[in-house]
């Protein structure tokens, strides 16, 4: 299955990927609720992926808003996915992919991919979001939050990935 987001192609086996943004349950929740792109199982970990082509400069006024957007998208995705797993009574029943029907004993990673960002620009975004996610990570036993660019995402098999999953 190939998902094209922010000019990047994400290719995973269909049993490993949940395109939450296009899911029926998300359509039901409403578009005004921000959500990330997809959830994928990769190398034994469940990863929540948000992708962007660019990100605002920390010196610009929109930086804090952009940070809050990412935080909200990923947090909502965690809640919605957990709600599905917990059997909350959503009107549209969602059949999760075979390898994503449990979070039990799985490592969880939260990832923002900014296609064209230089590594040195990623660090301040990474640090800011890690601070925001600090308590969520502790409460929900999230293993990591990382901000990557396309090059790093490709290195770790998140883009054009035909690797063993």
């Amino acid at each position: 299955m190939i998902i094209r987001e922010s000019n990047m192609d994400f290719k995973f086996k269909k049993e490993n990927i949940f395109h939450i943004e296009k899911s029926g349950v998300y359509q039901q929740v409403g578009k005004n609720v921000k959500i990330c792109e997809f959830i994928v199982k990769l190398k034994g970990k469940i990863l929540f992926i948000e992708a962007k082509t660019t990100f605002s400069n920390p010196q610009k006024g929109t930086f804090d808003k952009d940070i809050q957007d990412i935080y909200q998208k990923i947090l909502n995705s965690l809640l919605l996915y957990s709600g599905i797993l917990l059997g909350r009574p959503y009107k549209s029943l969602e059949k999760l992919p075979e390898n994503l029907n449990s979070m039990k004993d799985k490592k969880i990673g939260l990832i923002l991919i900014i296609k064209n960002h230089k590594k040195e620009w990623l660090i301040s975004i990474d640090e800011k979001l890690n601070l925001l996610f600090y308590s969520i990570k502790k409460v929900f036993l999230i293993d990591f939050f990382k901000v990557l660019n396309e090059e790093i995402a490709e290195k770790y098999g998140l883009i054009h990935s035909d690797q063993k999953q």
Binding site: E120, I123, D143
Partner: protein, 338 residues
């Protein structure tokens, strides 16, 4: 104000030329690449030009410069300063607002420089070097070691600074507005100020009505208090050149930010600043100052074999400190995906 400098065969620096020198200047690089050597080379020459012709001192400029180099670099023989493996002479050339000076020496030179061309005019301002280590608690020891024992250990950067704060009591009356404002900000950071008792030779830290022995005061407070003292006793004037080696040592990042804001105020009043640093925060903060103030801040990045001079107003150039922070970030990703 120092405008340009040329160093040849000077310690690790085979050939170094810098001519876009501004009000605030930053030098970065790994250990032993020559940052402090450049600061000290500039200091020895500007300080010699300030000491020359003061009061009734009859010493020739060459003599003052030779002594300054001897006691600042503390090498038994001057030829030890020449780049190893070269047959050339060590040469320094400096252009400043008050004139130009150049000197050189070869491998036969032990402790007197004779090849000097000096056109510096008399200079009333005082320049000073703030080393990475604190000097307040050591001031008695520094004076004794230099004046009684005449021993190596504390070089002239320590000795001159100690004399500057010990021999010059605080002055009352109007100070330059930005200096007064800077002093208020410095005293706000440490919530007090340093005081020197001339009779006992003791330093105290005064916070409100309470007086604390300097020995129980943190190094950060001493560092901030030191600059406050130099502004309060009028040792620094708008024509001074201030050299700061590793301002980040002993300072919390927040205090470092405030310290660099104050440095900017001083630079706007006229003081020229040279900073050598290993700190990510220093580079980042100076980059922001360059952008906000629309101020040229040259950044000299030194490596074993070469150097690069850029301007922080154009952005943070690739450099070993940022590279290390990227390396740590990459290591963190590696650990996350394990």
């Amino acid at each position: 104000m120092i405008q340009s400098v040329l160093l040849e065969n000077f310690g690790p620096l085979k050939s170094f030329f810098w001519d876009n020198i501004s009000k605030i200047n930053l030098l970065i690089g790994s250990n032993a690449t020559g940052k402090t050597i450049i600061l000290k080379a500039l200091y020895t020459l500007i300080k010699s030009s300030e000491e020359f012709g003061r009061g009734d001192d009859p010493k020739r400029f060459e003599q003052i410069l030779s002594e300054k180099i001897y006691w600042t670099f503390q090498v038994d023989k001057f030829n030890e300063l020449i780049t190893k493996g070269t047959s050339g002479r060590l040469r320094m050339e400096m252009n400043a607002g008050h004139g130009k000076c150049e000197y050189s020496f070869g491998d036969k030179t032990t402790n007197t420089i004779t090849e000097v061309k000096n056109s510096f005019k008399k200079r009333e301002d005082n320049s000073i070097f703030i080393p990475a280590k604190e000097i307040i608690t050591l001031s008695k020891v520094i004076l004794a070691s230099r004046e009684q024992m005449k021993a190596f250990g504390f070089d002239d950067t320590y000795y001159d600074l100690t004399k500057a704060i010990v021999n010059n009591p605080p002055q009352k009356g109007r100070n330059y507005t930005s200096f007064s404002n800077s002093r208020k900000k410095l005293e706000d950071i440490i919530k007090g100020k340093l005081e020197y008792e001339q009779d006992s030779g003791r330093w105290n830290f005064k916070k409100g009505k309470n007086i604390y022995s300097i020995n129980i005061v943190s190094e950060g407070i001493k560092k901030i208090g030191l600059l406050d003292t130099l502004l309060g006793n009028r040792y620094l004037t708008p024509g001074s050149v201030l050299f700061i080696d590793e301002p980040e040592s002993a300072l919390h990042p927040e205090a470092l930010n405030q310290f660099l804001d104050i440095i900017t105020l001083l630079a706007k009043e006229g003081i020229q600043i040279f900073i050598a640093s290993h700190s990510y925060f220093t580079i980042k903060k100076l980059f922001l100052i360059a952008k906000k103030e629309k101020m040229d801040i040259p950044i000299v990045s030194l490596s074993d074999a070469d150097y690069l001079i850029e301007n922080l107003i154009d952005g943070i150039p690739e450099n070993p400190i940022i590279q290390e922070s990227i390396r740590l970030y990459e290591e963190e990703i590696e650990v996350s995906f394990q």
